[in-house]
């Protein structure tokens, strides 16, 4: 890596009009030691043929901070050395020729406090289309405490959500209402009522349920809250339904959120596609109104799934904890959607822990101190069922919302029975785990035992016993190869 470490050119040389290598412009510094307040980004870079990795890393540093393609004399009107991001380390990706991990440090002064829009406009704003790179992926970021403290973070957080709902010691249970499109408000509310009465804690609008001709949003909200209140009276337990307030404008979203509040809902929902600024606005609204904020990660796979190009979901998780959501879909490991166990546990750790140590096996490249920012409840949703309860508890732990949509609504004895099956399976598994039983190996027997006093669970186990989604993951950590389990 030494060949770029040339003596810095004289200022008159350096600022002569024309084009020079990014490394020579000051965006590569192998001797740079990041300070505690620097933002650090780790990129996976795939340089074009003939572009050396240090120059490629320097180009990424340049294009994500102060540089343009040519020398500009106006740099000399600024403390430009400070504003230049510095690529300081390039490592070959283990086992993948032609790819490198590039570490780049950014001075804190480059960023507006409390703005994900500003952070991302720098870090992923321009650079992903840069021609000298075949592909570029933002793998991880170290966010300094000084920067973390400029964000409010989750309005509620795991601990307060549990206290508010009086639900401790077990994963929460949810279901997305299906079919996701086409139900009238009245029929939709029926599904909510049956599922909550049967034993779920939450039901959920799907990401694309907004206000369509078959069901306008006010109708949905009114029927859903009738269902929530009926179910609370039937069980004596607090319940919620994620009312999706996603809409075309902020004004519409605020109107929907206000109506949800007037109706007494404890939770609202937004989609990732509304954008970082809208998410932060809804977070502030939720904080002012004692509302749990659920985020559906709609659209993320367009840029998180492929390993060579895009943004890793662990970075999205970090941004969303800063931006301030209470729930975020973060993978199931065993369900129908992408998710290698180690990668998914890495996302969960980012969302739930006070402090993340370096954990290369789970894809965490940096130590991260969350500085007291509240914890985000991950949501596991998509192709999971009661028969996998031991695997879900093993992989995901207890601070998670397990969402069984088809696994509740598709139950042969009806929706309430489907909900009861899931709840009984869950409580039986937690009880057994706490008793010290080996749930990974004894899981199926524990479920069978529980099914002896619960016919709906028996039927669920029978119906879905052979359903698994056993495909290789595309997004696995680079440091220890593992397979997605059955």
């Amino acid at each position: 890596m030494g060949k770029m470490d040339q003596a810095a050119p004289q200022a008159s040389e350096r600022y002569r009009a024309g084009v020079m290598k990014y490394a020579q412009m000051g965006y590569w510094d192998a001797g740079y030691v990041p300070s505690d307040t620097d933002v650090i980004a780790l990129f996976r870079i795939t340089p074009q043929e003939g572009v050396d990795p240090e120059e490629a890393a320097a180009a990424v540093a340049g294009e994500s901070s102060t540089a343009t393609w040519t020398v500009v004399w106006t740099d000399r009107l600024t403390a430009c050395d400070r504003y230049r991001a510095k690529a300081y380390r390039v490592d070959p990706v283990p086992g993948t020729a032609g790819q490198y991990f590039a570490y780049i440090a950014y001075d804190l002064a480059l960023f507006e406090p409390g703005s994900i829009a500003n952070l991302t406009a720098s870090i992923i704003g321009n650079v992903f289309g840069f021609k000298p790179l075949k592909a570029l992926r933002l793998e991880d970021m170290r966010l300094p405490v000084a920067y973390v403290k400029t964000f409010d973070g989750p309005p509620t957080g795991i601990v307060v959500e549990r206290e508010r709902l009086d639900k401790f010691g077990r994963p929460l249970l949810g279901a997305t209402i299906k079919p996701k499109l086409g139900l009238s408000g009245k029929n939709y509310g029926r599904v909510v009522y049956e599922a909550l009465k049967g034993g779920l804690d939450f039901t959920k609008d799907d990401e694309n349920i907004n206000s369509q001709p078959f069901m306008h949003w006010r109708d949905r909200f009114l029927y859903c809250m009738e269902a929530v209140n009926r179910a609370q009276a039937a069980t004596g337990e607090l319940k919620g339904t994620y009312l999706n307030v996603t809409a075309g404008t902020m004004e519409d979203m605020y109107e929907r959120a206000e109506f949800a509040k007037e109706l007494g809902s404890c939770v609202i929902m937004i989609d990732l596609v509304i954008g970082y600024t809208a998410i932060q606005s809804m977070s502030k609204w939720s904080r002012r109104n004692d509302m749990i904020l659920h985020l559906h990660r709609a659209g993320h796979s367009t840029y998180t799934r492929q390993k060579s190009h895009g943004v890793s979901f662990r970075v999205i998780s970090k941004w969303m904890r800063l931006a301030g959501v209470d729930h975020i879909h973060a993978g199931t490991v065993v369900g129908k959607l992408e998710g290698d166990p180690n990668s998914v546990q890495g996302f969960y750790n980012v969302l739930r822990e006070d402090h993340n140590p370096v954990d290369l096996q789970r894809g965490l490249f940096f130590e991260q101190d969350w500085a007291g920012l509240r914890k985000v409840m991950p949501v596991a949703s998509g192709g999971i069922h009661a028969g996998q309860m031991h695997q879900l508890l093993h992989y995901l732990g207890e601070d998670v919302v397990l969402q069984f949509g088809g696994g509740t609504i598709g139950h042969p004895m009806g929706i309430a029975a489907g909900a009861t099956a899931n709840r009984v399976a869950l409580e039986a598994m937690v009880l057994a785990r706490n008793e010290g039983r080996d749930i990974w190996n004894e899981g199926p027997q524990i479920l069978e035992q529980a099914a002896r006093h619960c016919t709906p669970l028996k039927a669920a186990l029978e119906t879905w016993k052979d359903v698994t989604f056993d495909y290789a993951s595309t997004d696995m950590p680079d440091f220890v190869p593992t397979a997605t389990p059955a």
Partner: protein
């Protein structure tokens, strides 16, 4: 109806051996166990009566079980729950909370409504038993 608050309400009532096993799980993690009771099971009743203080210094499940039994004997027709409190920084809240005694008959809750403007409804839930004075409800 069956009140489904608490971690294990969907399972058949726990036996003493099962309760003790959960208490051992909590004590092994350094959580402080406490016992609470109420005859007002409204889901937003955040403050059940404390049956003594949390047992911060008790490390023996048999001792905790004795407290659970004493509470159940004193209030055989009340709801009784066992809580485990974790004082670890960043959590500082309950980790487990489950019902270990319930009234022989649970009449449940009424859903009351007040008509609002448009189609708005103001909802309230009321325990049928709560109409009577405290201590005479079940």
């Amino acid at each position: 109806m069956r009140l489904t608050q608490g971690t294990f309400s969907f399972l058949p009532d726990l036996s003493d051996a099962q309760i003790r096993s959960q208490i051992e799980y909590c004590l092994a993690r350094g959580w402080a166990v406490s016992v609470e009771y109420t005859d007002d099971p409204h889901p937003r009743n955040a403050y059940w009566e404390m049956y003594g203080m949390p047992m911060f210094d008790l490390k023996d499940a048999a001792g905790v079980m004795a407290e659970v039994d004493a509470c159940r004997k004193t209030f055989p027709r009340h709801y009784v729950k066992v809580n485990a409190f974790d004082a670890t920084h960043g959590w500082e809240a309950l980790r487990l909370s489950f019902i270990v005694n319930r009234p022989p008959n649970e009449p449940g809750f009424a859903l009351e409504r007040e008509e609002g403007p448009g189609r708005m409804q103001r909802y309230a839930i009321r325990a049928y038993a709560a109409a009577r004075p405290e201590g005479e409800r079940y």
